[in-house]
Each structure stands twice: as C-alpha cells, then as structure tokens.
C-alpha cells in the first residue's frame, strides 16, 4: 500500500502549501510591477 505522507498532518501541510502559494503570488506581483 502506498504511504500517504499527508497522514495525520494533512492540515498544516496544506496550510503551508497555500501560504507558500499566496506569498509567492504577492512577491511575483510586487516584482512584476517593477518591470
């Protein structure tokens, strides 16, 4: 059976994924406006 790495800790990792995505989007927007 495949091991689910999200087992037991699915919520924090998803929150981190979303946080990373949102922060990257903000950063991309800020730097993008400079071009």
């Amino acid at each position: 059976m495949k091991r689910n790495i999200y087992e037991n800790i699915s919520i924090p990792i998803r929150i981190l994924d979303i946080t990373i995505g949102v922060l990257l989007a903000i950063l991309a927007f800020i730097i993008g406006t400079a071009f």
Binding site: K2, I5, T19, I26, L27, A28, I31, A34, F35
Partner: protein, 359 residues
C-alpha cells in the same frame, strides 16, 4: 571519483523514479516543485532581469555581485552555525560594526587631520587582524557561554549582547579626538590589503577580499564536514539530549560554535572597515538579518542540525543577485525591504513544510 559517484547516484535515482507508479510520480514532482519553489521563482526573476536589462550581466555588475556576496559570506557562515544549533545571532551586525570601527581607528593614516588616536604609530595590519578576530571571538564566547550555561535561547542572549556591543561602540567612537565622528582616512596598507586587486575580469578588478572570503569558506567547509567539532555541532543541533548521551560535550560545542561565529564577525568587520572606508555607529546595522535570510534561503534549517556550506553560499549569492537586480530595475528601496521579508517568510514556510513531510 566523487563526480562519478554522484553521477551514478543520479542515474540510480532517475531509474527509481522511472519505475514508480504515475500517482507517485505526480506526487514526487509536486514535492520537488514546492520544495524548490523559491529557487525556481528567483531564477525566473533573475533571467527576466537579465533579459530586460542586459547590462545586469556585464563584467562590472557580476564583479559587484561577487564582491558584495564575498563581503557578506563570513558573517553568514558564522550565523549558519548558530542556526544549526536551532538558535540565531542578533548581535552579529553590531559585532561587525564594533570590529570594523576598532580596525579602522587603529589603521588610520598617520598625519590624517581627524585621526582618532593622534599619537598612535602605524600598526601592522596582521596585528590588527588578530586583535579584531579576538574581539569577535570574545563576543561570540560570551553569547555561547550564556546560551549554554544559563540554558537561555540565543535570541534573548544575543538581543542583550547586541545592545551592550552597540553601547560600547558608541562610547568607543567618543574616544581620543573623535567625538562620535565617522572613522575615515584609512592607511594605505589596510585599504590595499582589502580593496587592492591582482586579477581583473573583463576590465574590472576583483578585490582581494573575495579571495579571503573564499579561503574562509574552504576552512569552514573543512570544519563543518571533516572535524569532530563539526559533527558534534550537527549532533547537538538535531538533538542535544541524544548528543549528550552519546558523549558529546554539549556546553563546549555550543560555546565553540558561537566563538567561531564571533571570530567570523570579526573577519567581516575587518573587511567591511576598509571596504566601506568611512565607519560609524551605523556600520553593520542589520547585517545579521541579511545573513539569516541567506542561511534560510540556502536551506540551513531553523529546525536544527541541517545545513550545508554550499547552501549558505547559494543563499548569500542568490539574495545578492536579487537585490542588485532590483536596483537595476530601479525598485524603490523601501519596497526592497518588503521583498526581502517575503522571501524570508517563503523560505521559512518551505523549510517547515520539508520538516513536516519528513516527520
């Protein structure tokens, strides 16, 4: 030999990946993308800057990036040790400021009108290096001693010591005839030792301190990877109790890590003293933040016990490239602080994510 081994490992890894089920492949790809999201993003930004501002890749600009990175590398290598112990060091910037001002005050040109110590003869550069490194090491040793013996978090210890160092620096600047002024008019032996050059690239001179940073990096690589002290540092960082049970002297290791870090701040201070040329109480301000950011970007984990010299180098260079690039794009200086903060937050989030996945 090493290259061949790495190549074989890479091939084996690729063969393993090919044998995986499609679901697992997709998951691995996703993991890779998220773990390296910051690198991918920053590389894309660098390429975009290089395309829109071709002067960014000129020899002068590249040497500028190289020398700015080299100036920040020793302090980052020092802080990386503290981070590996799950700590940090807020006193680094002020330690650089104090050591830079002491070095500059001892190496002012004789006959300079505003010389801080008018009767001081020309001091040999190597004697000042030893003194500066010793001052840095003492600061580091105090940080390490309080952290290890009082079982305090380095955050609060170094917060206290940075204030003490700053006060000492302000008082030092009032000594002699200086009266709190910036220290400039440095002796030629000092400036040529740091800023002089014997190799040029594309018509731009590579300053000597780049080579000093290189030598320090090699020494630090050796200390981290090939000595018992280095192994102990990682052991204490990942689990101090386990390290203690295994016979590692935890207290001694912590004190030594901070002392070594302090010595590296001394080296940075010595370099900065001549590189900047005019040293005041503001010298070294916020240097620790750049160094911590570089370490986090370079994969030195706040979880402890994880970090590589090549990661620190990559973090320092990547951060420098981005900020030189942003200057090329004429990004507002105030906005650059926000960008720096966001980069640190993303790096920390990715670091924590890696830790949770491992757990």
């Amino acid at each position: 030999m090493e290259k061949k081994r790495k190549n074989t490992r890479f091939r084996r890894g690729f063969a393993e990946y090919k044998a995986l089920e499609p679901d697992e492949k997709r998951r691995r790809r996703k993991e890779f993308l998220i773990n390296n999201a910051l690198y991918i993003f920053l590389t894309a930004v660098i390429i975009a800057i290089a395309v829109s501002r071709p002067r960014f890749l000129s020899a002068g600009s590249l040497i500028n990036i190289l020398s700015l990175s080299a100036a920040n590398l020793p302090i980052a290598l020092g802080i990386a040790g503290a981070i590996i112990l799950t700590g940090t060091d807020l006193s680094a910037g002020r330690a650089v400021g104090l050591t830079a001002c002491v070095a500059a005050s001892l190496l002012q040109a004789t006959g300079y009108a505003n010389k801080m110590f008018q009767d001081l003869p020309t001091v040999p550069v190597f004697a000042v290096i030893l003194l500066i490194v010793a001052i840095g090491a003492v600061i580091g040793a105090v940080n390490g001693f309080c952290t290890a013996k009082f079982n305090l978090h380095p955050f609060i210890v170094t917060l206290a010591t940075q204030l003490i160092i700053y006060g000492t620096l302000l008082m030092y600047l009032t000594l002699g005839t200086n009266n709190g002024q910036s220290i400039s008019g440095l002796d030629e032996s000092y400036t040529s030792f740091i800023n002089g050059s014997f190799i040029s690239f594309g018509g731009t001179a590579i300053p000597n301190f780049v080579w000093y940073a290189l030598v320090i990096t090699i020494i630090m690589w050796f200390v981290w990877n090939k000595t018992a002290f280095g192994k102990n540092m990682f052991a204490v960082g990942s689990n101090p109790e386990a390290a203690h049970v295994s016979g590692v002297n935890v207290t001694r290791t912590i004190i030594l890590v901070f002392t070594l870090a302090g010595a590296l701040y001394g080296v940075t201070g010595f370099i900065e003293g001549a590189r900047i040329g005019s040293n005041s109480a503001a010298t070294g301000l916020n240097y620790e933040l750049d160094a911590i950011a570089a370490c986090v970007i370079g994969g030195v984990s706040f979880v402890g016990g994880i970090g590589k010299i090549r990661g620190v180098i990559m973090g320092v260079v990547l951060l420098r490239i981005i900020f030189v690039g942003l200057t090329f794009l004429s990004v507002n200086q105030n906005l650059q602080y926000i960008i720096k903060g966001l980069i640190i937050l993303i790096a920390c989030a990715i670091d924590m994510r890696k830790y949770l996945v491992r757990k």
